[in-house]
């Protein structure tokens, strides 16, 4: 299985890449030792969004399906976690159960929506329109749930103000549950992210990923090679959407609140900006690019949120016009090309010597 970590669908397959990756991971692991807990919590916050970006990368970059619905599933995951956590509590490992249940629920929603769209042969731009429509519908629906009648069990949905009062994630432990906040949450998210990233690398380099990129290039040709392309599109859509729900749950657990604003239009456009900017055709580019962009966005937001949003828009336009493959994919290609160029330059002199 491990040989699938490297393959044609991922940039960075050599020893140098994995050595760098290990160094980055090591730096990430010891970072909390040097940083103060607030900054560590912030870092965790950036990492939380990366799941959603990786999900979109899988569907859009590898499978050619541009979904505007990442925040729809983010919202389902987040709200479901909130409701479950308020109603069922979080003791004795129940928090992790709620996490799994919320992601599963989003998976069921993705399966229903995905089935209707993909088996209904909705493709191309209409795929984006339908996913955007359901996202906006959910955001508006949740926005009007301010009244006391909008409650599931004890959990009030609270309209535009959003849900509050859910408990953070916690790990069951002998002497009592360990709440995952700040540094523990950071480690939890980091481990989950590394696992997700490696699993996705294996997935895209396996049979599934081969078919996914083939159908992105030419669905008809792929079908004529004997593949039921709809099954693969459906699979990618469900997995990608569940990753958005993972982000939703972690976000809700991190801040212990979620509002409809994290689902609506400005929020829904964000994953597309991150993934387009980073380079949608590669998981590593999206992982790194999304993290960098989020960190930059938050730094700017301290000065002006409006300015930060405008900058995101400018970045999207500039990327689409001048670096259509994405900035970090471009950087990755340069990094892969430099050593080769070095070798070809050196070789003649070696022969002379």
């Amino acid at each position: 299985m491990l040989h699938l970590l490297n393959g044609p669908q991922t940039m960075g397959n050599g020893r140098a890449f994995w050595a760098c990756a290990c160094l980055v991971l090591l730096a990430a692991l010891i970072y909390p030792v040097f940083a103060d807990p607030y900054d560590v919590g912030n870092f965790a916050y950036f990492l939380i969004w990366v799941f959603m970006a990786l999900g979109l990368c899988l569907m859009w970059g590898y499978g050619g399906m541009l979904s505007f619905g990442q925040t729809f599933f983010f919202g389902i995951g987040g709200y479901a976690y909130g409701v479950l956590s308020v109603d069922l509590g979080s003791a004795y490992g129940m928090a992790l159960g709620n996490f799994a249940l919320a992601v599963l629920l989003a998976g069921v929603a993705a399966a229903i929506l995905g089935y209707l769209m993909i088996y209904g042969r909705i493709g191309g731009v209409f795929f984006g329109i339908v996913t955007l429509a359901v996202t906006l519908a959910l955001a508006y629906f949740l926005g009007q749930t301010a009244g006391p009648e909008w409650a599931i069990g004890k959990a009030r949905l609270n309209g535009f103000n959003g849900m509050q009062g859910m408990s953070p994630l916690s790990l069951p432990w002998f002497g009592g549950d360990i709440d995952l906040e700040e540094t523990p949450l950071y480690y939890f998210v980091l481990v989950l992210l590394v696992g997700t990233y490696l699993a996705l690398r294996m997935l895209v380099n396996a049979r599934f990923g081969n078919v996914l990129v083939a159908l992105r290039e030419d669905p008809q040709r792929t079908e004529l090679l004997g593949y039921d392309v709809r099954r693969f599109q459906f699979g990618a859509f469900v997995i990608g959407s569940m990753l958005a729900a993972v982000s939703g749950v972690l976000y809700t657990a991190w801040g212990q609140f979620i509002t409809p604003a994290s689902i609506g239009l400005p929020a829904a456009a964000m994953p597309i900006v991150w993934v387009a900017f980073s380079g949608r055709s590669d998981l590593t580019a999206v992982l790194v690019g999304t993290f960098v962009l989020l960190a930059a966005f938050q730094t700017l937001t301290i000065y002006s949120e409006q300015a930060a949003l405008i900058l995101m828009g400018v970045i999207l336009i500039v990327t689409v016009m001048f670096v259509p493959h994405g900035c970090f994919v471009g950087l990755g290609r340069i990094a892969a090309w430099l050593p080769r160029r070095g070798r070809t330059v050196r070789r003649p002199s070696a022969e002379v010597g």
Partner: protein, 240 residues
């Protein structure tokens, strides 16, 4: 011997106009059957009925003894058909080798895929281009790559729609040699073609379509000798 592919009374109408009308056709195992006819004869429509792009308005299609009239294209491929459509459609952004890999991965054991890729690259004359994106190949090379992908599926019936479209005379000849070699190795083929020189180079059995109906059938020599076929190709109405 029972036919590998049997088309019985197939018709297809678009808005009341019959592109294919009551066509019977059978392809025997080991045969290289050519479907020819002038433009608008219904060749490509009939081909698409066999592929499963759309269902026939009437009639049946039987392949290896089972009725596949309503089966989806991927299911037909799963039963042992392999198809190369008219316009070369390879995965342009992916390297040549990966194009073959995607075709091979369900049909060859994983440890043997690399060797099989090398073998096909050699047959197709694409060994030096293995790592280039398929979109950078010449038109002719893309056609061959697609034939290679079709072969990778280990089919019992290979369907080719105008494999020489857009090729130079030399490339056409090389394609003919490739097709003959495959047939000599036992591959059954149904080929839609309008290039008569190419058909003469390869065919064993020929069916001529005209205005959606079977106009003539026989060996290539009989068809070439048939004056009526020459007339429809030259555009002179029969009997005029």
């Amino acid at each position: 011997m029972s036919a590998l592919l049997e088309i019985v009374g197939a018709s297809k109408s678009f808005g009341g106009v019959f592109a294919v009308s009551d066509v019977d056709l059978s392809v025997q195992p080991g045969e290289m059957h050519c479907l020819i006819g002038p433009n608008g004869a219904g060749k490509s429509t009939l081909f698409k009925l066999v592929v499963g792009t759309y269902p026939p308005s009437a009639g049946r299609i039987v392949f290896r003894g089972s009725d596949i009239t309503r089966a989806k294209p991927f299911a037909r491929v799963g039963r042992g058909m392999s198809i190369k459509m008219q316009a070369p459609s390879v995965f342009k952004a992916l390297p040549v080798r990966q194009n073959l890999h995607i075709a091979l991965q369900d049909h060859v054991a994983r440890h043997a895929i690399g060797a099989e890729e090398d073998r096909l690259l050699d047959i197709l004359g694409l060994t030096d281009d293995a790592d280039r994106p398929a979109g950078l190949l010449s038109h002719g090379q893309q056609q061959w790559l697609e034939i290679g992908m079709a072969l990778a599926l280990r089919p019992v019936l290979l369907l080719l729609d105008e494999p020489t479209a857009g090729l130079s005379p030399e490339e056409t000849f090389r394609t003919g040699e490739l097709v003959r070699r495959l047939n000599a190795e036992g591959m059954t083929m149904l080929i839609v073609e309008h290039d008569m020189a190419f058909v003469r180079q390869i065919a064993t059995g020929v069916t001529v379509l005209h205005l959606g109906k079977v106009f003539a059938r026989g060996s290539i020599d009989e068809i070439v000798a048939d004056e009526r076929v020459a007339e429809i190709y030259l555009g002179t109405p029969h009997g005029a």
